[in-house]
Amino acid sequence: MSFKRRIITQLFLLIVLAAVALFVALPGMPDLKLGSWTSDFNINLGLDLQGGAQLVYEADLDQLADQNETELEDALQGVRDVIARRIDPNGVGESIVQIQGENRLLVELPGISDVQAAMDLIGQTPLLEFRTEGEAIPAELDVPLEMNFVATKLNGSHLVRADVSQQQGALTPSVSLKFNSEGKDLFAEITKNNIGKQVAIYLDGSIISAPVVQQSITNGEAVISGNFTLEEARELKQRLNAGALPVPIKAISQHTVGATLGAQSVQASLFAGLLGLIAVALFMIVLYRLPGLLSVIALALYASITIALFKILGITLTLAGAAGFILSIGLAVDANVLIFERIREELKLGRSIKTAIEEGFKRAWAPIRDANISTLITTLILFIFTTSVMKGFAITLALGVIVSMFSAIIITRNLLRVFVGRWSERHSWLLGWQIKKVTDNK
């Protein structure tokens, strides 16, 4: 393709990109549905912007000190699972429960008002129960499964431990249970009276498993088998152990932000960001005239693309993250400034405007690349070493730097190529401050 053709095509693609980016980035746009995948284009707000609580718990794994690593991991997973089911039983909320390191749990509760109630709920000891089938319910009545089970005396304190095991000749893994002496007797009673019926295992009031009793078990060791995947077996084992040997947890840090402060912060940041951008745009236009205007357009596009990426990638925006984004806009301008200064130098050397543009971009690339890479190195280290609020800053800054490199090199360049041609040499005031008359030179 000829050079000119290539530029026009790129410009066209850019316009399409701009349209898509704006569509995604602007608030209030309708949700996008692609087959079964829906994406609601709302930005994920961090706790300091929408209000809520962040809690860090430390688990006391001392009682399990003699276990190997996988066991400790499983115990922690079990605790995580218990907490997750408590604060969000149906899995619809936006709360997060994460394992951090070897014995920490991070709990994020966006939009919560009564933090202490949540903490009480989290701090409760897990309750594991074994229930048997009650009276048969006539088929006409529409009754949920749980109501049909009746509590027995057998509970978590009778369970010594559960393990994942592979039975001889079985194709799928199973979960083995071991009861203590009191449990052994209770369990023998239960299995004797319920052959062919289900025994439901409840953790914190909801069923985690309801196997059918095959035979009377008197030695206190039982095996639950079925079509378990290894994942499912491990999960059931973690849950059973969480009820059998609860791991004590302690809250070691808490960050709560009220909703009003959050909303205030959002508004203030938006306003400040906008103001800053306008100031920068004016500055660029005054200094660099026409190329400055083009770079402002490129920057607007840059901002839309970055915001669109935030939404698509589901990045959580915190206050520090917003600052990172706004800072990256300042850095994006930097790349443009570098290029323009280079172009200006080429013009001083007497080159034609078109050559000056090409040379300017070529020569400006090395410092832009080196400088941005060092910034990216810093963000990478920040990302590894900090916690969630600060991670947001690292992510937005890194994303901003990457997109800004793209924006300066591709968007600005094409805009300049298309809109600043030989005609501008005659109106050199358009090219910026201190550009003397450009002599006609090849």
């Binding site: 070691i252 840090s253 709560t256 203030a268 800053g276 300042g330 570098l338 060092s374 910034t375 190195i377």
Partner: protein
């Protein structure tokens, strides 16, 4: 412009030296104010309907709750920030209740409580992070400038860059001590983030100048190193200043209009950007020349 930055480097070194010394003195004798992120404790921010002049009345009001040592800081938006040893939710609610009774209305804006173990960890992590950033940046510069040997080997660029970064970190911290005294600014994870960001940004700036030096070195082998560096500075100074102005404009906008909780953070960034720009122009490059001259002198003596 006949003024030579390189020739007048003595003055810049004196200026930098003074600032560094002053900062070190401040850091040792006045000390940074440590936030709860690093030493543990609790912070409660409560919104009251009225403006509070001094913390003394609030302290009075809370005195019978027996909270131990309490630090009260009124802010400009009629909220009050209370800092206390680590407490739980019940105590926090009691405090808010008490304030509600005393002042008519009180609303909890923010509550942060950090135990001592996390504080210790964050401190360590922060130090590791800073060391790693410094090492990574030297490595990157040494790599990026590996092909430049005469008259200064590539690793020396890295060392000068590190010296510049340390210069920035010390001065930034010194200024933050002053912020602590004037505005009650505290050192927490946000300050460390600001520090690391400024490191990335300052190195950014410094590399642009060094890059130019490298380019000019390969083109004009006849001129003295000092002249080449001077030229490089001249060529990049407009761009450096422009970038600081644009970034600075944005930061000032956020500082004035933006969210209060990150005010200290933004102020630190702003200071860092200014110091970083100053150091790339007036410290890093003259240092390069000084080193080369010192090395040349040694060679001719020894």
């Amino acid at each position: 412009m006949k003024y030579s930055i390189v020739k007048n480097r003595k003055w810049w070194f004196v200026l930098s030296g003074t600032m560094i010394l002053a900062s070190i003195v401040l850091l040792i004798f006045v000390r940074l104010r440590m936030g709860i992120d690093f030493v543990g404790g609790s912070i409660i921010e409560v919104k009251l309907e009225q403006e509070i002049e001094t913390g003394a009345d609030v302290e009075e009001a809370l005195s019978d709750l027996e909270l131990g040592s309490v630090l009260i800081q009124p802010t400009s938006q009629s909220t009050v920030i209370i800092r206390v040893a680590e407490i739980g939710n019940e105590t926090q609610e009691q405090i808010v209740q008490k304030l509600r009774k005393t002042y008519g209305s009180a609303e909890l804006e923010r509550f942060e409580s950090v135990g001592p173990t996390i504080g210790e960890e964050l401190r360590q992590k922060a130090i590791y992070a800073m060391i790693i950033v410094l090492v990574a940046i030297v490595a990157y510069i040494a790599y990026a400038f590996r092909k430049v040997s005469a008259p200064i080997q590539s690793w020396k660029y890295g060392v000068v860059a590190i010296a510049t970064l340390l210069h920035d970190v010390i001065i930034m911290s010194g200024l933050y001590v002053l912020f602590g005294v004037w505005f009650g600014a505290e050192v927490g994870s946000l300050f460390i983030v600001a520090l690391l960001t400024v490191l990335g940004y300052s190195v950014n700036d410094t590399i642009v100048v060094f890059d130019r030096v490298r380019e000019n070195l390969s083109k004009q082998k006849s001129e003295s190193f000092g002249t080449i560096v001077e030229k490089s500075i001249r060529q990049t100074i407009t761009r450096s200043l422009n970038t600081s102005i644009t970034t600075g404009l944005v930061l000032v906008a956020i500082l004035i209009f933006g969210g209060g909780t990150i005010r200290d953070f933004i102020a630190a960034l702003l200071v860092g950007v200014l110091v970083g720009t100053y150091s790339s122009i007036f410290f890093a490059s003259p240092l390069l020349v000084a080193w080369e001259k010192w090395r040349a002198k040694r060679k001719s003596i020894g």
